[in-house]
Symmetry: C2
């Protein structure tokens, strides 16, 4: 049962797709208090689990930490970070009963999940205007289904977006792109997409292509498509301040950019240097910005990733100026520690500063609204701008679209990737733990940067990360400027990588169908084991394995120099290892096992009495024969 409680005058976020009437606030079931913020408190039993928060840090069970809903461009996903790129304000408190809570509020929320007091959830909503939904159901899975019914069906990408995708910051010109495709083809490793990061543009200007690097872009795109490869360019939130640059001029002349308090356009530095920021809160701005993608779709582009849309702000002119003034005052002084650390912190704190965010204004219903009040729906509305345009122009499911920042509601317009992770072994598990959370909130098309974005991947890390990525709808290898080459063919013995990627292609019919079924049924693709085995204590606490669809359990290897892992089977299952076209299968009884998994093998567990389809591998999704199926 869903109940809605409305407090004050909520800003419409677009999260909810089905309007329901508000209950009497006298029936509000939680202890709460109201000042400038609204605080509420719930009690947890010792063994209660808290699921949720979508794409968030730490465990599947969110107990024992404090989180913040505040879309953050923070590339350093250590375990104590409270906020990452997304603000997904949905949790389930699961134990003797199962209670979902969705707080539809576009500014900061603090979720203290037994961090301060082990037995209490304390939620602070930094405002007085919001909708809060409670959802009671017999199981956490049922709570999810009801919630998903409320927020509407998920974005579905084109079929080819289930193919393997290769990205890097940056394949900056034709030769670089060709070298990647040739590398994959030569190593006989399947591939469907190559990504264009910021360097394909002229001076990082959205909706431009650098003619020196790509002299005839439309032709180049067509050529690649004839080879079965889609190019996927990036689009950033900031629009470069550059006289004569059409997008900038149009935005400026039509007043489409975010404002300062004095009504002038806000300016902040991101990749192109000083930029202005489209006011995506407005429908007319979304329509305008969405239509700009036409520049690239006209040249044959069929997919995009929206980035830097928290929005990230490296600096503002005002912030730098203040920092430089501070530095000037210290010249010639013998700095004590206090002054030294203050200076260092000033420069370190220039990016994504609260001061800068507080100086931005949007126009909502004709009125100026400070950015901080709607921070968490900025990126989502950029995705919506693109998604609405694509749907109008091409129909549903034709254009690949996913975003870094997100809020619930954006799941109807695009997918997400899990942002700028690291080439850390711990980030294999972090990806795994994010998957059910993202699914709960409607984000079905999602995945992490496989192999890790920042820092250097080793061969074994890349292989083990990819062996998990085989199952994620978005299967993309992505790495940062200055890191070691991370393409599958760049490592020793690339045939091991081929074995892993081929498994992906063999599984696409199954994975695509599982995706569609989950979407139709308002269900999850990936579930915690506890959803399926609530009475089984080991399953309930398991944070290194997931249920996949109705048939499978996945359990990636996530430690270096390990030739296998321990795995818990909550019931008898078949232990399957997939590698290229090879399949081995072994019955294993309920219980704890150690299983061997080679670097070129994908482990999978199939429930008794279930079978899943496998097709033959192919070099492209377009070459898959999805009729020629064997069942394992």
């Amino acid at each position: 049962m869903i109940r809605k409680f409305t407090f004050g005058n909520p800003i419409q976020t677009g999260a909810v797709a089905k309007s329901i009437g508000a209950a009497d606030s006298a029936d509000f079931p939680f202890e709460h208090s109201l000042s400038d913020s609204f605080s509420l408190e719930l009690t947890m039993d010792k063994t209660d689990i808290v699921y949720g928060l979508g794409e968030a840090n730490r465990g599947i069970n969110k107990r024992g930490w404090i989180y913040e809903s505040w879309c953050s461009d923070d590339p350093f996903h250590t375990e104590t970070k409270r906020a990452l790129y997304a603000a997904h304000n949905f949790i389930i408190l699961s134990g003797k009963s199962n209670l979902g809570i969705f707080i539809d509020f576009p500014s900061k929320i603090i979720w203290d999940m037994g961090y301060t007091e082990t037995g209490k959830i304390k939620i602070v909503i930094e405002g007085r205007d919001f909708d809060l939904y409670t959802i009671s159901a017999a199981s956490p899975r049922e709570v999810v289904r009801e919630f998903r019914g409320l927020i509407g069906k998920s974005y579905t990408p084109p079929f080819w977006a289930f193919g393997f995708q290769q990205s890097r910051w940056s394949y900056h010109n034709e030769e670089a792109v060709d070298r990647i495709i040739d590398g994959y083809d030569k190593a006989k490793i399947p591939l469907d997409c190559v990504y264009l990061d910021i360097d394909y543009m002229q001076s990082y200007k959205d909706f431009t292509v650098d003619g020196d690097k790509f002299p005839n872009f439309a032709e180049f795109v067509a050529e690649k498509k004839a080879r079965g490869i889609r190019l996927i360019p990036i689009i950033d939130a900031g629009v470069k301040v550059d006289d004569g640059y059409e997008v900038f001029e149009e935005g400026k002349q039509n007043g489409y950019f975010c404002k300062r308090a004095d009504g002038s356009d806000f300016e902040g530095g991101v990749w192109p240097g000083i930029c202005r920021f489209p006011d995506f809160m407005r429908q007319d701005v979304r329509d305008w910005f969405g239509s700009k993608y036409k520049f690239l779709t006209d040249m044959g582009i069929e997919g995009f990733w929206n980035d830097m849309n928290e929005p990230a702000l490296f600096y503002s002119a005002e912030g730098i100026s203040r920092a430089l003034d501070q530095a000037a005052q210290l010249q010639g002084q013998n700095l004590d520690l206090g002054k030294f650390f203050k200076l260092k912190d000033t420069f370190a704190g220039l990016s994504n500063s609260a001061e800068d965010y507080a100086s931005i204004y949007h126009i909502i219903d004709g009125e100026p609204v400070n950015h901080q009040r709607v921070h968490n729906i900025y990126g989502s509305n950029m995705t919506r701008a693109a998604g609405e345009y694509f749907e109008k122009e091409f129909g549903k499911g034709k254009i690949l679209m996913f975003s870094r920042a997100s809020y619930i509601g954006a799941h109807r317009w695009g997918g997400i990737w899990f942002g700028d992770n690291h080439s850390w072994w711990s980030h294999i598990l972090l990806c795994l733990k994010m998957l059910p959370g993202a699914n709960m909130c409607g984000f079905l098309y999602c995945g992490a940067d496989l192999g890790g974005f920042n820092e250097n991947a080793t061969r074994d890390l890349a292989l083990r990360f990819l062996a998990l990525g085989v199952f994620t709808p978005l299967m993309r290898n992505h790495s940062a400027l200055g890191t070691r080459d991370q393409e599958c063919f760049a490592f020793e013995e690339p045939e091991d990588f081929r074995d892993i990627i081929q498994v992906r292609y063999r599984l696409i019919p199954y994975l695509y169908n599982t995706f569609q079924t989950a979407n139709e049924n308002d269900d999850m693709i990936f579930r915690p084991l506890s959803f399926d085995y609530p009475g089984d204590k080991i399953a309930r606490e398991c944070e290194t394995q997931l249920m996949l669809g109705e048939e499978c359990m996945i359990a990636p290897v996530y430690e270096q120099n390990a030739s296998g892992r321990t795995v818990y089977l909550p019931e008898d299952m078949a232990f399957v290892k997939l590698s290229g076209e090879r399949v081995t299968k072994q019955k294993l009884a309920k219980g704890v096992h150690y299983v061997d998994v080679e670097l070129n093998e994908v482990p999978l567990f199939i429930k008794e009495g279930k079978k899943i389809p496998l097709c033959k591998p192919a070099m492209r999704t377009s070459l898959l024969d999805t009729e020629d199926i064997e069942y394992i």
Copy 2:
């Protein structure tokens, strides 16, 4: 068999205690090349393990990453860091044969353990003057024994240093210290030591006590000792530049400080602001600095921790001045991204900069030697300064001494702690993985900051971390300024903490004896499972459990919200749970098991046919009745 190869004219580091003759360099067994650096290469079989590097990052098996020997004040121990505080240049390549390599060289060494090429170890020694020892033996444990015979017996602390110790940055005055002791006593949690971090001093000046905070320090120390509590003050490497401050004046007048190229004293900023740095490379400086501890031992102090001795350098006057000049030039400019990031990086890079280190000179045998050539033995020689004084003045094993920075050789003069870790779950395992490495290199008295130094610990993290710390010779809870209170009595239901700490006291007779036996036999306290079960593949790869002494295996719980863990038993064992005075015991067969462990329980596995002694718990080590023993 040990062989020594000498290249060039090595600087004497003091690592080796037993002089052996050099072999003919024509017999040098490794592929190598010499330019400004010396590079050597070894081939690894697929299943070879690389042990070693002492207190270093990542796994027990060092394969698959690249490490640097370069003592570094880096408090951010993420998994891709190459260098931490120590430089322990000893590895064992273990497979069909077992080969130890010790490189006695006090500057940077790069250890590429199959990172660039999966089957190769590539070592780059950044210099031409060093001793390299090879050690062949039948087992890795035997290699360790031979190596330890070479480097001499380990430092042994006083018995009371096996008690539980509470630290924080900072218990800054009498009331703060008393509050801690009262807190522990009231909660009936055993305690032996309270630490004084930098704030006990006058303006962070070594060998001073702030009279406002501790009006009668000697009396206060005696009072605490009468309660069974030792106070353990910190000593930093840098000496504050402050006219009239005795230590500074003596160092200046006698020319004891490190120099610049022009012969003037080098100055750099650390906690006291601008400091000069004793030239610990010199025996006369060590004698002088060591004798300064008398100021505190005369007031009843019996233990110290040496910190900031990599040496850490927050900044130099020259570095800050250069940074401020750069900032001044940018004022008024519209910064492009390049200039912005360069500016930000300049301020971020002020600390521990290569440029500053390169501007420091030591005097060795009367000649100036650039700091970079001897960087890794600076901290060790500070420990030696203290250790030599303590031994001369008080005899062996009377004064507690441990250090942050270290090099092999310092193990004869003091212990180590593993530096400024975080309140991260992953750092429970990082501590576990460092223990055998540290032991291999002679550092027997060691341990991590339990509960984690940086950031905030949750109650469950603190309990699980302490349950591992129960077994580490140094058992100290330490946390940073600005973090949540981390003392055991500060959390909800402190009786769970009492149950854990009491287990430590019950185990002290066993742990103390295991320590002494390991030292006598040139052996390790903690061993990887692979040392004991080389033919057992699961044991060989196990990175979450350790063998302890001849009797036990330890396997801490290291995941949040987990009521237990999976554990691998390489043979039949008794699964023991210790909690306060309670003991449960259950036979478990060889194999993989899931075991339940409550937050107030310490899990321990005892081999068949073995027994270990337990005494009764007491509030102080001095109150332990080590004759009243039961065997479990």
